[in-house]
Amino acid sequence: MTETAPARPVAVRHRRVGQERLPVAAMILAGTAIAFFALPFLGLLWRAPWGDAWSILTSDSALTALRLSLWCSLWATGAAALFGVPLAWLLARVSFPGRGLVRALCTLSMVLPPVVAGVALFYALGRRGLVGQYLDRWFGFTLPFTTTGVIVAQTFVAMPFLVLTVESALRQLDTRFEDAARTLGASRWYVFRRVTLPAIRPGLIAGAVLAWARALGEFGATITFAGNFPGRTQTMPLAIYLTNEGNPDEAVVLSLVLIAVSFGVLVALRDRFLGGGHPPTT
């Protein structure tokens, strides 16, 4: 820290710290990338039926889909945290044979086409599925085509984001603080609650936000595993896809709502938790 400021040559004296300028070519490419991200949203804004927006937005079908989307994605985030944090702990702290394979397995759904995830879930948890048939026979409990099914599908594809982020936070943690807590008489659970969890909080929040965003936008696994029933399994992305066939105006308004919600959350959390240049404080 004390040795990063060598005497500067006079020729670059005017260049201030933090005012780094990129070469022109890189500026053009970066600008193109920004435009690439911005243009589709501008297209939606341009196409939006502003006159009818309010009535579409407050229509029963739109509100139902939005409510269902928020409900399911929040439950999926909660489930991802409940199961994902212990899983991340296991992957970060316990070395066992085949750990690499287990990690690959548990993050496979992140890279899988979501439709494949949906089909796979169907053959595992469906009414005739590997495990699903017993759920049905013994408990009369079916997952496909239910709201719970939506949550399961979303959790399946979203949890890896949380697991990987939390695992990385756990690995960066100075475990001596946990040692200190144990010598003071704290049980493992107490140590986790009062020392570990506060220390990995930024990572946990970042992971939860990523998982939530993934769950909110989930389409393929949901429609394959849970179907498309308004009020029960038709989340925003499904509603948008289907209304776009016959009623593009409504699709555009619903899209803008989804974008507004997601963008709002990203802006609210921006640099603090999503690694915008600051290393996480541990």
Binding site: T183, L184, G185, S187, V195, P198, A199
Partner: protein
Amino acid sequence: MTLDARIVRTVGTFRLDVDITAAPGETIAVLGPNGSGKSTLFRCLAGLLPIDDGRIALDGDPLDDPAADVFIRPERRPVAVVFQDYLLFPNMSALENVAFGLRARGLARTDAQTQARTWLQRVDLADHADHRPGTLSGGQAQRVALARALATDPRLLLLDEPLAALDAGTRADVRRDLRTHLSGFDGLRLIVTHDPVDAYALADHVIILERGQVVQSGALADVTARPRSRYVADLVGVNLLAGTGHDGEITTSAGGRIVPVGPVHGPVFAVVPPRSIALYRAPPTGSPRNEWPGTITGIDRHRDIVRIQLAGRVPLVAEITPAALDALDLQLGDAVWAVAKATDIATYPR
């Protein structure tokens, strides 16, 4: 309260094998260079590392005994630790840090905080109760760490390099405070350090650890008066030479010859104080019987002495005055004669 431990633990290729016993109320300092096994020993006593062989017992209660399949987890041991960089929990105030151990034992929040406040008062930090660790000075952080450890009412208190994280200016004050606060604790104290001054100021009994073995133990004055290893000799600042005595002379393994006073037989150590060595440009004449040719390999100037390192059959450190250095015009690489009187050389069996 007594500690009775034989600790055997292998970490990679390193093997620690030590015996430690401590009588009631004693303060023990474990002194050793880096890599001597101090931190392994420390972690074994705290329960953060199980031992492979041996037994650790406090007041006769086994804490770790592989043969009997006993291992008391760190949170169940009556052992508290002050870590080198204190490891205060950064998300808690000083008060919450001190209350941590009490709350972990199931004490209600308000009761724990009341007790913690008393402990902060004892270390003169009552007015810093709401401060976060990041805003405390090194000395204050150490006192919070000490209060946090003592609040759990341990029978054995471990201190890992308690003064190493402090700058030289505050170290003396903090050492004195630490001594005061430790004197109020009636359990056993074990301090791991690499600084003999800490050991001298805080402990009754020292254990010198090197390469996983106890090379010397006893009262500090006895240990330093008769060093048994290069490490201790360097700590004390004397020349330690090992050799074999016969016919009133000692021959070192490199072929050097040392003449002490009185008879010497068999394997012995000879201690030559650096201040008793005189340097000459030419072979001296006169009564001294110890004359060693050597080459200057180092010159360290201090305020009123100069330490000269000599290589030769009898490698030595000599301390001379700056005036003598100038008069002799000594330079690195110069050949000189080192001379010591037999009466200045102490010997004792190896």
